[in-house]
Symmetry: C2
Subunit: 157 residues, 2 copies
Amino acid sequence: MKPARPRIRAKLFPTPEDAENAFYDAFERGDVAAMMAVWAESDDVVCVHPQGPRLVGFEAVRESWAQIFSGASQVRIRAAEAHRFDGQTVAVHSVVEIMSAPGEKGSPGERGPTGSVYATNVYELTEGGWRMVGHHASPMAEIPAAEDAGPPAHTLH
Amino acid sequence: MKPARPRIRAKLFPTPEDAENAFYDAFERGDVAAMMAVWAESDDVVCVHPQGPRLVGFEAVRESWAQIFSGASQVRIRAAEAHRFDGQTVAVHSVVEIMSAPGEKGSPGERGPTGSVYATNVYELTEGGWRMVGHHASPMAEIPAAEDAGPPAHTLH
């Protein structure tokens, strides 16, 4: 039998990658507490959600994630095609976030990924390890070929 | 009489701010050579123009600026509301780019800024000083109040 662990504990991310993995894990699970454990507790953090305003400060960022997670259905996210600029105290990862809806498996409309987003993630080494201080996301420019091609040529019925 | 200086010379930006100033100066003047003197000559640089695709590599980025400058009329740009994360070798500036068209002065339709953009600018300390390695720009979310309010209540004639 495992000993009970305290639920509230500081998380330490030894590398920017650890912080990034925790970010996308919290994003997928819609877990506000886990999400905000990734962010630096600072009035200076900056977050731009796709087509959203620029939010500044821990509280504004927390409220935005709480709102996103309250309305959204579960989503799978894969951060791909990373380009990393890792300094000793500041690190930046440019990624493509590929999102898919796990609940839509087998549905006639299933086309794989439901959407992709360009994200620039900024991390800073704080006294509490690496934390996110910036997240800038914007919708992918290119519309998938399936969308350009007009109505589907084949239907299932 | 000043001695002639060679036109072609390496520019060294001693700080990320110097690189940023040169970036917006080149942007305003539509000067591709000056713009690309700011960017690191690397296959790893990343650039997302507003609503555009993610461009990777010096050549792709150069081509995009050449295209933008060939089609665009002159624009004034002010980078405001900066939040800076400055490390020893990597620096990130989140800014609001406020654009205005200098040619429209005094025209009846003049409303000040013609558009604003959120930008995350990433700089890296290279052997040639600080250079831009990332630029992620997306349109400002909120439509200016003047646009929401319908036709202007006051006209000049």
